[in-house]
């Protein structure tokens, strides 16, 4: 159950401060309203997004051990807002936690910087905002904070691969419902869950520069399926998914040869709307796929 005040070592990731700045802004606003204090890890580095691990596994492990060590210096649990950060960091953490000799080897270089990653230090955890919201903040408390229930808003969840697979690495043994948390949050905010085929599939982003057609076919198919299932919008805890589902949506529409035009919200934006924040403060006017429809559904007036 939720504690009164939550403070977290906050890793915003690269994309939330790059091509999806509305995510970073809306997270700050929503954290403030929920009473979650964000202690930003401004010296931390990129998680590597799986690409650095593909190049040199030890390099990726050490870079993320550095981020964990910076978080541990604060004595707080760590929070991220990106499925890809979650998956890439969990992968490295799993290897680091598996073997003390390997951890000591990685810590050699960190010790020169006054840093050290220690397994389970102060019960260290690294959770996406979605996990934190359900497991630490609590759905009952979230429900009690709702000012503007998302009544009548039909929301399709889109998780991002890195936060749902592989299950064994991502703590599903302890938290078996992590692959239905988005549905739980949508419901707690008063919205309607839309079931469609793509909720736990791949947005295609990782291969967008390598095989544009494969990538955009994935994004376009999922957006189209959600539209066909009656969704007013999608919600995602992953800014990389957002890039392919929103920023690339007009291009994806060409690849799947149909009209799309479905708003894609970042998770903090959806929460923020229910907490009574204005769409503009949440950066919703900056999306490529217009979010006007969501605003109209919620306010009943044409935006």
């Amino acid at each position: 159950m939720a504690s009164e005040n939550i403070r977290v070592a906050y890793w915003p990731g690269c994309v939330s401060r790059g091509f999806t700045p509305e995510l970073h802004g809306s997270m700050a606003l929503v954290a403030d309203r929920l009473g979650i204090e964000l202690v930003e890890l401004d010296r931390a580095n990129c998680c590597g997004a799986g690409v650095i691990a593909e190049h040199n596994q030890e390099l990726a492990d050490t870079l993320n051990a550095r981020t964990f060590a910076l978080a541990q210096q604060t004595g707080l649990a760590m929070m991220n807002i990106c499925s890809t950060c979650q998956g890439a960091q969990s992968e490295c953490q799993q290897r680091l936690d598996a073997d003390s000799a390997y951890r000591a080897h990685v810590n050699e270089v960190l010790s020169g910087q006054g840093l050290s990653y220690e397994k389970d230090k102060d019960g260290f955890t690294n959770k996406n905002f979605l996990w934190l919201l359900v497991e630490d903040y609590g759905l009952d408390k979230l429900r009690s904070q709702v000012q503007r229930p998302l009544s009548g808003l039909r929301v399709g969840p889109f998780y991002g691969c890195y936060i749902v697979r592989p299950k064994e690495r991502l703590g599903y043994n302890h938290y078996p419902d992590r692959d239905v948390y988005l549905e739980k949050v949508i419901e707690a905010l008063g919205g309607q869950v839309v079931e469609y085929d793509g909720a736990r599939k791949c947005c295609g982003f990782p291969v967008v520069t390598m095989n544009r057609d494969t990538s955009l076919r994935q994004a376009g198919t999922h957006v189209g399926d959600a539209i066909d299932a009656g969704a007013d919008c999608l919600v995602t805890p992953c800014p990389l998914c957002h890039l392919n589902l929103d920023m690339q949506q007009p291009e994806a529409a060409k690849v799947v040869n149909r009209d799309l035009g479905l708003p894609v919200l970042h998770l903090p934006q959806l929460v923020g709307l229910a907490l009574g924040a204005e769409p503009k403060e949440l950066g919703m006017d900056r999306h490529v796929a217009s979010t006007r429809w969501v605003q109209e559904r919620l306010t009943g007036v044409a935006a």
């Binding site: 040199n56 550095r66 598996a98 599939k201």
Partner: protein, 407 residues
């Protein structure tokens, strides 16, 4: 004993009809398998229900199927667990994996929906393959064709030895994970890249390719890697979705093998038509210089590596850059991304000496570039998952000492 309803996607080609759903009621212990449930339905209700199986012990790899949408082996999935999964998904989403109609669920229904224990367990034939009959898929047209595509046999050079090839057991440890494959096709069934691009070589065949790339007896490693990188539907067509890792009943983790193929191809300096290697190098270099991602630089360097230095954009680079222009211009127009962020190279470094710390990590890791394979090493204090041969003890040996053994 408990009662279950299994809902099977059926297809009887001789009937001339399309596929349809049929429910069967079965009665068995929760610890028994989904396959046991199917065989009971076949025995008691409909002998024409077609399912391939043999060993019933996750060894033969015959009974690949989808249970509640998850690709797996029918014999390795306990029916009690499948029931729990079906209940959970219904409670959360208001729909079973089979339901296409009325997908929207109203407020307040959440708490009461789907708690009934008779939620059907949904069983379908494997994906990404043609269905021959009921749960039997055509493994030849996709799976075996793709396996043959990667030349799945040893290509040694020189005079063959008088008797067998002798290798150190340690030098084979690296490929034991890919050797664990039983060719069931569950990974192929689950592959999300193949869903979008049926030409993708795919997880099973690429895991098999690594089995030979990593084999010390094989003499054509470079040619194999070049071939797999040069195919536009090869190693750089994997979208990194982890589906095959969760689908594999034997812990092969095909995606991890694909990433190792990429790493080895990169180490051999092999460039590819998808610019996969260029993308990887650009990403790694940017983090060394900036600490966080300069996205504009990544896009530019992936398509046209070295444009600021030596200027060697390829035809593909130019073509892709032109194609990506609308994607860059739209957010600029919406003021989503400020102009500065769209210009490669303007991204800031980490503050106050932090960038030097990142550089020091690079210097350290590039000396070692050690791979820590959990499948082989296991978690400290636990028994290793594989022993190459009985008697090879491992697990708490310091990682540094073990690095030489087969990486």
């Amino acid at each position: 004993m408990a009662e279950y309803t299994i809902k099977v996607r059926r297809f009887q080609p001789e009937s001339g009809e399309g596929p349809y759903w049929e429910e069967f009621n079965v009665d068995l212990d929760p610890s028994l398998s989904v396959l046991d449930g199917l065989l009971q339905a076949k025995d008691n209700e409909d002998g024409s229900l077609a399912v391939r199986c043999s060993c019933r012990a996750a060894i033969c790899g015959s009974c690949g199927m989808k249970v509640n949408g998850q690709s797996t082996l029918g014999c390795k999935t306990q029916i009690g667990e499948a029931q729990e999964q079906a209940n959970k998904m219904l409670a959360a989403t208001g729909a079973t994996a089979a339901e296409a109609g009325s997908p929207v669920r109203g407020e307040g229904e959440y708490a009461v929906a789907g708690v009934a224990s008779d939620t059907p367990i949904v069983i379908e034939p494997m994906g990404n393959m043609p269905v021959v009959k009921d749960l039997i898929t055509d493994m030849e047209s996709t799976h075996w064709t793709k396996i043959r595509r990667v030349t799945p046999w040893l290509l040694p050079h020189g005079e063959p030895p008088e008797r067998e090839y002798i290798v150190e057991p340690e030098s084979m440890i690296d490929i034991t994970q890919s050797m664990a494959c039983i060719q069931c096709g569950a990974c192929v069934s689950s592959c999300l890249s193949m869903e979008a691009d049926p030409d993708f070589i795919g997880p099973a065949a690429l895991a098999k390719a690594y089995r030979f790339v990593g084999d010390p007896r094989d003499a054509e490693t470079h040619e194999r890697l070049h071939d797999l990188a040069d195919d536009p539907h090869g190693i750089y067509d994997c979208t990194h979705c982890f589906s095959c890792i969760d689908a594999c009943p034997k812990g092969v983790a095909p995606m991890d093998q694909i990433m190792r193929l990429r790493r080895k191809a990169g180490e051999e300096g092999i460039d590819d038509p998808n610019s996969g290697h260029a993308h990887e190098l650009a990403f790694v270099k940017i983090i060394e210089k900036k600490g966080t991602l300069d996205e504009a630089m990544l896009v530019q360097e992936s398509y046209a590596p070295g444009i600021k230095g030596k200027l060697k954009p390829s035809m593909r680079g130019l073509r892709e850059t032109i194609k990506s222009l609308p994607t860059i211009l739209r957010p600029l127009r919406k003021r989503k991304v400020p102009l500065k962020k769209a210009i490669p190279g303007t991204h800031h470094k980490l503050p106050g000496g932090a960038q030097d710390e990142v550089r020091a990590i690079y210097a350290h890791a590039e000396e070692h570039s050690e791979e820590f394979n959990l499948y082989i090493k296991g978690e400290e204090g636990e028994l290793a998952e594989v022993d190459v041969e009985k008697g090879i003890e491992r697990s708490t040996v310091p990682a540094g000492e073990e690095a030489d053994s087969g990486q």
